[in-house]
């Protein structure tokens, strides 16, 4: 079993920085951070802290979906080779469950709690961002396809470029519910259309 010596000696107080530029908090080097804490109040804090790290990581890398079965992707975030510790998928699931309670994540209903969307931005925020982009670019007079929003030339420099389909759909739901836009069925998801109402903003 891994022998842990002084964390000071190992420089564990210093945060790890990934090639992507993402910097883990030094807490990522704290060995018990990888065990689901049996004390309720400690677990509450632990899951909050993990939730914060997940949100930051996902925002930094523009990721949207967490898949418990995608261990290759999860390894970078949920394991630490320096201290030879790893979160097991039950614990990751429990953390996501806490994030879902707080509205920071949402399970894919068909996935039996194996996949979740991580809301490092809320659909309401995406909705505001997309609608102001639409009006500022004068795209409000025509019907836009979901493809044009997520992958179109006009949106290349936008934060929502390559937005996850599930998040885009949630965002559109918000806009429709607010009466800001109407959506139209397409042959497939990317051909779904949306029309913004001029009085909407």
């Amino acid at each position: 079993m891994a022998q842990t010596t002084s964390n000071a000696a190992q420089g564990l107080g210093q945060a790890t920085t990934l090639a992507s530029g993402f910097q883990f908090p030094s807490l990522h080097n704290f060995p018990p951070f990888y065990t689901l804490q049996p004390t309720a109040s400690t677990w509450k804090n632990q899951s909050d802290l993990w939730g914060t790290i997940i949100m930051r990581y996902y925002r930094h890398h523009r990721l949207y979906q967490l898949d418990l079965d995608d261990s290759a992707t999860n390894d970078q975030l949920f394991s630490n080779q320096r201290i030879n510790r790893r979160l097991n998928s039950e614990t990751i699931q429990a953390i996501v469950e806490e994030m879902v309670k707080k509205g920071d994540a949402e399970w894919d209903a068909t996935s039996r709690k194996r996949r979740a969307i991580i809301y490092w931005r809320k659909p309401e925020d995406w909705a505001a961002m997309i609608s102001s982009w639409v009006f500022e670019s004068g795209l409000n007079n025509s019907i836009l396809t979901y493809y044009e929003i997520a992958h179109g030339e006009n949106s290349e420099d936008q934060e929502f470029f390559n937005i996850h389909p599930a998040v885009l759909q949630k965002t559109m739901d918000v806009l429709v519910k607010r009466g800001v836009a109407a959506t139209f069925q397409g042959a497939n998801f990317e051909e779904m259309g949306v029309k913004f109402f001029n009085a909407g903003v």
């Binding site: 964390n7 107080g13 910097q23 030094s26 704290f30 018990p32 004390t39 509450k44 632990q46 909050d48």
Partner: protein, 261 residues
């Protein structure tokens, strides 16, 4: 007796003159302040009792400790998520210094230095926050551990639940009302010498305890959220996060913020 009273009065008025003349030194120089405190204590004057009294008006020291008290509360609460509300005095002081915009002058054995920009910006933010709140620039107002202890004492009547425990050879500040039993204190004292973590075997061997007694002490510390358990080590390691003090503490502040919102 009358004569004695007269002498005392003279001494008091001399002390007042002294304080008036050395006001700046008292506020700026922590060692000077400590000696002055002792001098006052000897004749039964407590300049910290209130910022309203003669002494407070004369010196502004009441404000000094009041302000320091608020900074201590901020430090302790923002790190509670990790350390369960138990923190080394030296660490409290170090963080208060940073909050006041002072650079690290002392490094404790359990602290780490890092130069990441996140933590710096966080510190600057805090320093600015204090500058705005207190409407003055605190830079250069160094505090000592003695100041921190005094300030915690002044918090006590507010029912703050702040206490200072002597554990091993270190003083620990507790921001949660609690009692530590003897075994818990002994184990926490031991952990200071074992790099912040222990297991049942280490506790048994080093303290000569039966494993049942060791396990009970560790489990109660775990229950009180003063320890975290690492079940991926064999035997399981119990860690005191208060001894694992990360530099980049902005994450704790932000997760505390989300949990209160």
């Amino acid at each position: 007796m009358k004569q004695l009273q007269g002498q005392l009065d003279t001494f008091k008025s001399n002390l007042e003159n002294f304080a008036r003349n050395h006001r700046k030194d008292i506020q700026k120089d922590p060692v000077f302040r400590m000696h002055f405190q002792k001098m006052c204590g000897n004749i039964g004057v407590d300049p910290l009792a209130s910022s309203k009294g003669v002494w407070g008006e004369l010196l502004g020291v009441g404000d000094f400790y009041y302000e320091l008290g608020i900074q201590i509360i901020d430090v302790c609460l923002s790190t509670r998520a990790l350390n369960g509300g138990l923190m080394e005095l030296s660490e409290v002081k170090r963080r208060v210094d940073r909050m006041r915009g002072l650079r690290d002058t002392t490094t404790t054995s359990t602290s780490f230095t890092s130069n990441n920009s996140n933590s710096n910006s966080h510190i600057n933010k805090l320093a600015n926050k204090w500058a705005t709140m207190t409407n003055k620039d605190n830079s250069g107002m160094e505090v000592t551990e003695d100041d921190v202890l005094r300030s915690i004492k002044t918090l006590a009547p507010l029912g703050s639940g702040f206490q200072v425990f002597q554990i091993g050879d270190r003083k620990m500040v507790s921001s949660v009302p609690r009692e530590l039993n003897r075994d818990q204190s002994i184990v926490l004292g031991l952990v200071q010498k074992t790099n912040g973590h222990v297991n049942i075997n280490v506790v048994s061997e080093r303290l000569g305890w039966e494993s049942g007694r060791a396990k009970t002490a560790l489990d109660t510390l775990l229950n009180d959220s003063l320890m975290w358990i690492d079940q991926q080590a064999e035997p399981h390691e119990y860690w005191v996060p208060g001894f694992f003090e990360p530099e980049d503490d902005d994450i704790y502040a932000s997760s505390a913020a989300t949990s209160t919102s």
